[in-house]
Each structure stands twice: as structure tokens, then as C-alpha cells.
Symmetry: C2
């Protein structure tokens, strides 16, 4: 599907067809594309816990303000943001040296910089991780649409309850949930969007792009 | 361009062709697409300050670890996340009632919920805003690619310095910078990505999707 069509037909779907399943093969294709998203130092601090089993989706729905699409979608995805991806930093720095992006000295200096994130406090690391992982989430939703799938991002959930219910270690911030499946019917009219002039400023705030 | 092609050929470009400019018309087309991104309650808490003037880009480069692509790209975008989008909440709730999504009572209850964000502290609101705006940023980068444009997201900048230099009010979190322009040459080989089995768990952590 054309990119613009994927963007224009992506909708936050809340009525999923419970009879149509997302297969392992589809998940594989989808996440291979998601993994191509950009991230600081290529740290790829994203992990995805995909829940397709009925009991798991039921449990997750109970953590997510009882939103029924969590249970009715073929898969509900718990999106995890690693707030301290230091282990992988070593691997990706080695990749950089191997491919000639960095020399050893720059790789070491960068590793020291990433190591220092630990001292910058939880808020700093959470913001960094969630920002990065959210980029991948949008790639997920657009790639899904391209594959004929639908999605719905969810912010309304009890993070502590999800953490406890699914055994998520403290190093991960639970960035969002995403429902994945097939739309049951065409959704209602899209809610209006702001006009371009209301969101884009040229050179200085208050100088809208007309 | 096909969505998968946009995803696969999107690269974080650091060598921009300084001779090729991004026009107002292109910006308009791009941001119309960006605006279709999903957001909690359709709040669209994103604003974009687009800097194309030489002096502005030079100033921004100085706030961004002297990264030369900030200055060499046709446009450097300061991405703003409104941490308390209460004014627009009233508009979007009225839209919901008008289109039959919500009744008056639900619209009022939701507005009260959004109003309560103010009491939840700066970290909560920052995380929420940055998460939402980051989704739009990935849509921006993919839509740009589809239009033949290139981009580079930047996290390495001094937020206080950008705030001061460009007069950004405190209610906005500066979510990231994005360079926008045309690639000068084909970039180097993409850095390796994690394998799908390393980022996707099925049903429980530690059960990788093979």
C-alpha cells in the first residue's frame, strides 16, 4: 500500500473482528519493519510482549480500564522501553567500529556517555526511552496498516498492575499498549484535526505556516 | 512510494544537499499527513517550529552539540509537546459530541479527567506529551521519505538553550529536533538491527517469537 494511503487509512480501531487472527508469520514481518526505526546510538531500547492467548488478553483488559478492544483484538501488545540499555550499547558500539562509523576512542567515549545515563535519574531515562520506543510504535501502526492490519494505541492502563500481572522488571517502562487485529467494520468519521497553520510555525512561534 | 519502501529507505541522514530546499508547499503536504497521527482524546499536543533561515539554523546548531546537519539540512524542526493541552481539550470534546462519539456527560467527565492532569505533576505530563508527539514524529519521517525527503531525529541538544534561544514557553517540552532535507549521497550501510526474536516475546517475557 502507498505510504500516504497507510497514513490516511490508519485509524484507532476499537471494533475488531474476533474471528481473524494475526499469525506468527505476520508478527515476524511486522516486527522486522518496526526494528528499522531510528534510535539514539542505535540502542533499539524497544521490546514487545505480544499477548494472543484469551486468558492473557482478559487479564490485560482488566489492567486497561476494561477496554473491550484489548480482549477482542487478535493480539494485545505490551510495549516496553528499556530505560537503561547498557548491555546492548556494547554490541552496537562494536558494530560501529566494525563498519567504520566510529574509531575505538569514539566508541569508548560514547559508551561512557551512555553509562552516565544511570546517574541522570529515573525521569531522564524514562523520557528518553519512551520517546525512542514511541517512534517504533508509530512505525508499527503504519506497517500494520500496510499489511492490511489495524491497531489502536492505548495510554489508559494501570502500569503497576500490568507490571505485576505480566512480571515486567523495573528497568522497563511500560510505554503503551497496542491492540492489533482486523477491523470488523469501517470506523466512524475521523475526529477533526487541527489545521496545518495551527501546528506549524515558521522561524518563530506565532508565525504560522499559511 | 510503497510503505515498506518508505520504512526500508528511511535513514537518519547526516549529509544533506545544501542546495536543495524544502518549500512551503512541501511542508504543508507533510504536516497535513503528520496531523493524522493518533493521540489520546485526539488532543494533538504537537507543534512544530520550522527553522529554514540561515541564522536560525546556525543558532540551533550551537544548541545541538554543534552537529553540522542541523545547519546543512534545508529545515531544522524544533518539535514541541504541549504538556497541558487543556484549551484544545474543550474543542475536541465538543467535536466528539457533535459527531456522536460521546454524549455531553461523557465529554464533561473526560474534560475533568484531562483537567486533573495538572495535579499529576510535571513528570507525568511530560511523559504523556512526549510519547504522543513522538508518534507524530515517526509519521513525519516516513511521510517525508515518501515525498522523496530525508530526515534525522536528534536527541542531543541543550533544552534550556533551545528554550531561551527560540522563546519556547515552559508549558512545552522540547521533544526532539528533526532535520529535513535531501540526502547528498547514499548513506553508509545501515547499522545492524536486533533480530525479531530478541525484541518480541510471546505471551510471557523470555518466550521469544522464533
Amino acid at each position: 500500500m502507498e505510504t500516504q494511503a497507510a497514513i490516511r487509512t490508519r485509524r484507532s480501531i476499537r471494533d475488531f473482528d474476533p474471528g481473524r487472527k494475526v499469525s506468527d508469520r505476520q508478527l515476524h514481518e511486522l516486527f522486522e519493519l518496526v526494528g528499522l526505526s531510528p534510535s539514539s546510538y542505535n540502542l533499539q531500547a524497544w521490546e514487545f510482549l505480544v499477548i494472543r492467548a484469551a486468558a492473557g488478553k482478559k487479564k490485560l483488559r482488566a489492567c486497561a480500564e476494561d477496554q473491550r478492544h484489548v480482549e477482542e483484538a487478535s493480539a494485545a501488545i505490551i510495549v516496553l522501553a528499556d530505560t537503561y540499555p547498557i548491555d546492548y550499547a556494547r554490541t552496537t558500539m562494536a558494530d560501529r567500529v566494525k563498519l567504520g562509523y566510529y574509531d575505538q576512542q569514539k566508541a569508548q567515549a560514547t559508551l561512557a556517555k551512555i553509562t552516565a545515563w544511570k546517574g541522570k535519574g529515573a525521569e531522564y531515562r524514562k523520557l528518553k526511552a519512551v520517546r525512542s520506543v514511541s517512534l517504533a510504535c508509530m512505525a508499527l501502526m503504519l506497517a500494520a496498516r500496510d499489511m492490511g492490519l489495524d491497531s489502536c494505541p492505548i495510554e489508559g492502563f494501570d502500569s503497576g498492575q500490568v507490571r505485576k500481572g505480566f512480571g515486567i522488571p523495573g528497568r522497563y517502562e511500560i510505554a503503551m499498549l497496542i491492540c492489533l487485529g482486523y477491523r470488523k467494520q469501517e470506523p466512524r468519521q475521523r475526529l477533526p484535526r487541527k489545521e496545518v497553520k495551527d501546528i506549524v510555525h515558521l522561524e518563530a512561534l506565532g508565525r504560522p505556516l499559511q
